[in-house]
């Protein structure tokens, strides 16, 4: 009966023939769909399929080249977020739009009062936020500063921002990307409560199981086009994957590695807390040759500091780094390179590559001082270019010439250059920090194969990733990072997703044991 009722409902939102181009890229190509009252529609597609562009047009951040948006029967003026909000559309952005130094309350009431009124009614606002929090299971203290909140809490603030304005349509852009499995469950519960209250929801994701779990209907986008709309009840995982990629999903099962001697050892590594980064607290970690160690956890729990220490970008306040059993003095990025540590940095745009420099310049950037590429302080242009050309050939990088600027390459091709640079000279230790973030499935598979290849050649690999599926697929051993502490390792397949989720949230037996036991992991 419930399904019947939904079918009869009037559309609350209608997108008609939306198209937008960015340069040569068609991000959205003539997309039309409707959203009905009380419905959760999932917008499924790979990175770059046009999901976020479409929603940014709907919300007025971008102006479409053509097409119209109608909410509750009225056309929305293009490029005007204020009009979208007034029409009852709220958006929870993938990258939160919060002011970190301000309180929850301030973030929520921003823009809800006439700009030039002379006073604010904070007491009433606080009361309303509290009642919304309890009604929809979005617990958060209105007076705490955003910077003190966890990622999950920040997302609740984003949802509260929309609810505070009485939105009838809520768009969530990749809301689960930053959540632990437990927090994801709580979010889904909230979404169901909202729908029961008559809201309509658009849920953007590229994760199949979530889409299947939460939505009523799935709209699949591929390459900027709307491929198909499927009722969730009849959809299957492989069908959706096929639609999303235009090919059947190969779910490769990677064989396990054969661990050999310990290459890198971190012993009671401790650091101070710094802005945006929690303190590391007695980190113990051993990386063995021929083995991938996966670090699971929600970003911001100390992974960045851990990576910085292994890369040599930061020295621990206490603790020892041992390479091949030898304690390291005067640890630095230069030492790390000399110890043959290959690095795949977290943010390929900010740190991994220099967008305004050429492919050649980028690939030699770790070794330009070596005899291979320079003599008497002068670069050997020919050797550099040959090296770049070899990489382009061997790694199948799609780029017209080694002289073009890296900025013009796609994310996947940029990542191939980073892999090539990191794997040059067969590193004994590889730090792969979020190696597949933002890549499409083809590129992800490529990176995964290359990592397994390197492992089989005998590299000791540390894989830091937010993507639990990736961690579970590649890692021979899994450690979980939470609040600057590292759990003891578990073997591949030893823990279920739920158990890993508990650890990611800093709960579960392992943390309790550590507290009471007072052992080497103890706080």
């Amino acid at each position: 009966m419930a399904i019947m009722k939904k079918d009869e409902a009037e559309p609350v939102l209608r997108l008609d023939g939306i198209s937008i181009r960015f340069g040569d890229v068609v991000a959205n190509d003539n997309i039309s769909f409707e959203l009905k009252e009380g419905e959760i529609v999932a917008l499924l597609g790979e990175n770059g399929a046009g999901k976020t562009s479409l929603m940014n047009i709907l919300f007025g951040h971008y102006v479409a080249d053509s097409g119209t948006v109608q909410a509750f029967g009225n056309s929305l003026p293009p490029g005007d977020p204020a009009a979208a909000l007034t029409a009852g559309i709220g958006m929870v952005h993938q990258h939160f739009t919060l002011a970190d130094q301000m309180s929850v309350l301030e973030n929520i009431i921003l823009g809800t009062e006439p700009l030039f009124s002379l006073r604010q009614n904070r007491a009433a606002a606080r009361k309303r936020i509290k009642s919304l929090s309890t009604d929809f299971g979005l617990q958060v203290d209105p007076d705490s500063a955003i910077t003190d909140l966890s990622v999950g809490e920040r997302q609740r603030v984003e949802i509260l921002k929309a609810l505070y304005r009485d939105v009838r349509i809520l768009i969530l852009d990749e809301p689960t990307a930053v959540l632990t499995p437990g927090e994801t469950e709580a979010l889904f519960a909230t979404l169901h409560k909202l729908v029961a209250n008559g809201l309509s929801i658009i849920f953007i994701s590229h994760k199949l199981h979530e889409v299947l779990a939460v939505s009523d209907r799935v709209i699949v986008l591929r390459g900027g086009k709307l491929v198909k709309t499927v009722p969730t009840g009849t959809a299957t995982r492989s069908q959706l994957a096929g639609l999303m990629m235009g090919a059947e999903l190969e779910e490769t099962e990677f064989p396990g590695g054969e661990p050999r001697s310990v290459m890198l050892e971190l012993s009671s590594i401790t650091t101070q807390r710094s802005p945006g980064r929690p303190a590391l607290d007695g980190i113990e970690l051993r990386l063995s040759a021929g083995e991938i160690t996966g670090v699971a956890g929600v970003s911001g729990n100390g992974q960045a500091t851990l990576a910085a220490i292994i890369e040599g970008g930061q020295r621990p306040d206490k603790g020892t780094i041992l390479i091949n059993g030898e304690p390291q003095e005067g640890w630095s990025a230069r030492r790390a390179l000399a110890c043959n540590i290959g690095r795949i940095p977290e943010d390929r745009h900010a740190i991994g590559m220099i967008g305004e420099m050429t492919v050649t310049e980028n690939v030699i950037s770790e070794r330009y001082g070596s005899d291979r590429f320079s003599r008497y302080g002068i670069l050997d242009q020919r050797a550099c270019e040959e090296f770049a050309e070899a990489i382009i050939r061997d790694y199948d990088v799609k780029c017209p010439s080694p002289d073009i600027r890296v900025r013009l390459l796609s994310g996947g091709n940029m990542q191939k250059l980073i892999l090539a640079r990191a794997f040059d000279g067969n590193p004994e230790i590889i730090l792969a920090n979020q190696p597949t973030r933002g890549l499409d499935i083809g590129a992800v598979n490529y990176v995964h194969r290359k990592l397994i290849e390197a492992r089989d050649k005998g590299a000791a690999i540390l894989l830091i990733s937010e993507d639990l599926d990736e961690i579970r697929a590649l890692s021979d051993r899994i450690v979980v990072m939470s609040k600057g502490r590292l759990s003891p390792p578990s073997a591949r397949g030893e823990l279920s997703i739920a158990e890993l989720g508990e650890r990611m949230a800093g709960r579960g037996d392992v943390w309790e044991d550590q507290k009471s036991g007072g052992g080497k992991y103890a706080a």
Binding site: T86, H93, T97, L110, G111, T112, K161
Partner: protein
């Protein structure tokens, strides 16, 4: 001992507050602008404009308060120029600001020559006179310093209150603070980033110009070249010293002014022992030390100096 007795002298405190007044105006102006995420290095030039416009309006026969308003409007105009170049066009705030300072200063000197071709020594105007507030001004030490000043000094203190209240207690102030932290948050709530930033820069520049006008209309009573003499740059430092908070910035301005007033008097006491340039340096050295001590842990507006382009990928 004489060096200490200076501090007990009412005339020292009167001078300190007088020296602080233009700094307070301009610091509040810079603070509003930076809180919205726009560094305004045009401050030195905008103060010059304010000093000239305020003074010339009165010289040409306008009323004193009319002169203050004219100075504010001229400042706001240069603020709008700086805002237009840095906010919608997203140009470098450093380069634009220095350009504004050079432009505003030169334009002022040019106008001065044009409007007063025959003048050799700058003419004086009938400036703001001190106004002693009854009863309060009779309090020893504090009375003359705080309650026997010119109306513009009182306005400076009132401005600090208005800025603090405006930033922390009104929706517009909240929007200004958020736009300096994360402009995307402002846009996502349906407010125009450009509008808020432009308004903040223009308002701030108006205050800077009033700060400049104080010098010609309440201190020296006439306009001469180079009279701003780095006061604008000091205000940039005072904003950092005050951790972008109006109250702390006020404190910084008074502290700096007190150093300045103190060194003048110390010169007389110390006589020929030390070259007077050393005393001139003193406030600046102390303010650098104060910056090191106070401002290293300051939480600056996260989006300061970062242009925001709508819909940028």
């Amino acid at each position: 001992m004489e060096a200490f007795e200076i501090l007990l002298n009412a005339s020292f405190w009167v001078a300190a507050i007088r020296i602080a007044s233009p700094l307070i105006f301009a610091t509040m102006g810079e603070l509003i602008s930076e809180r919205a995420g726009v560094l305004n290095l045009g401050i030195e030039g905008i103060m010059t404009v304010g000093a000239f416009v305020g003074w010339f309006t009165v010289y040409a026969g306008g009323g004193l308060w009319f002169g203050v308003c004219a100075a504010a409007l001229a400042g706001a105009a240069f603020g709008l120029l700086h805002g237009f170049l840095t906010v919608p066009l997203g140009l470098s705030q450093h380069v634009t600001g220095i350009g504004i300072t050079l432009l505003a200063t030169s334009l002022t000197y040019f106008s001065y020559r044009l409007l007063l071709p025959e003048v050799t020594s700058p003419p004086k105007i009938e400036a703001f006179a001190p106004f002693a507030i009854p009863v309060l001004s009779d309090i020893p030490l504090i009375g003359p310093a705080l309650f026997a000043q010119t109306p513009l000094t009182y306005l400076a203190f009132i401005t600090v209150g208005i800025v603090a209240w405006g930033l922390y207690r009104t929706p517009a102030g909240l929007a200004v603070r958020v736009v300096g932290e994360n402009p995307a948050a402002v846009e996502a709530q349906g407010i125009s980033v450009t509008l808020i930033r432009m308004a903040a820069v223009a308002t701030g520049s108006a205050l800077m110009a009033i700060g400049g006008a104080f010098l010609t209309m309440s201190a020296f009573n006439s306009f001469f070249f180079e009279m701003i003499n780095g006061r604008g740059w000091i205000c940039i430092a005072l904003v950092v010293f005050g951790s972008w908070r109006p109250g702390k910035a006020l404190l910084g301005a008074i502290l700096f002014a007190a150093f300045d007033a103190y060194q003048i008097r110390l010169q007389q006491v110390a006589g020929d022992l030390v070259p007077y340039q050393v005393f001139l340096m003193l406030p600046y050295i102390l303010s650098i030390l104060a910056l090191i001590a106070v401002a290293r842990r300051a939480t600056y507006p996260k989006a300061l100096m970062i242009p925001y382009q709508k819909g940028e990928r």
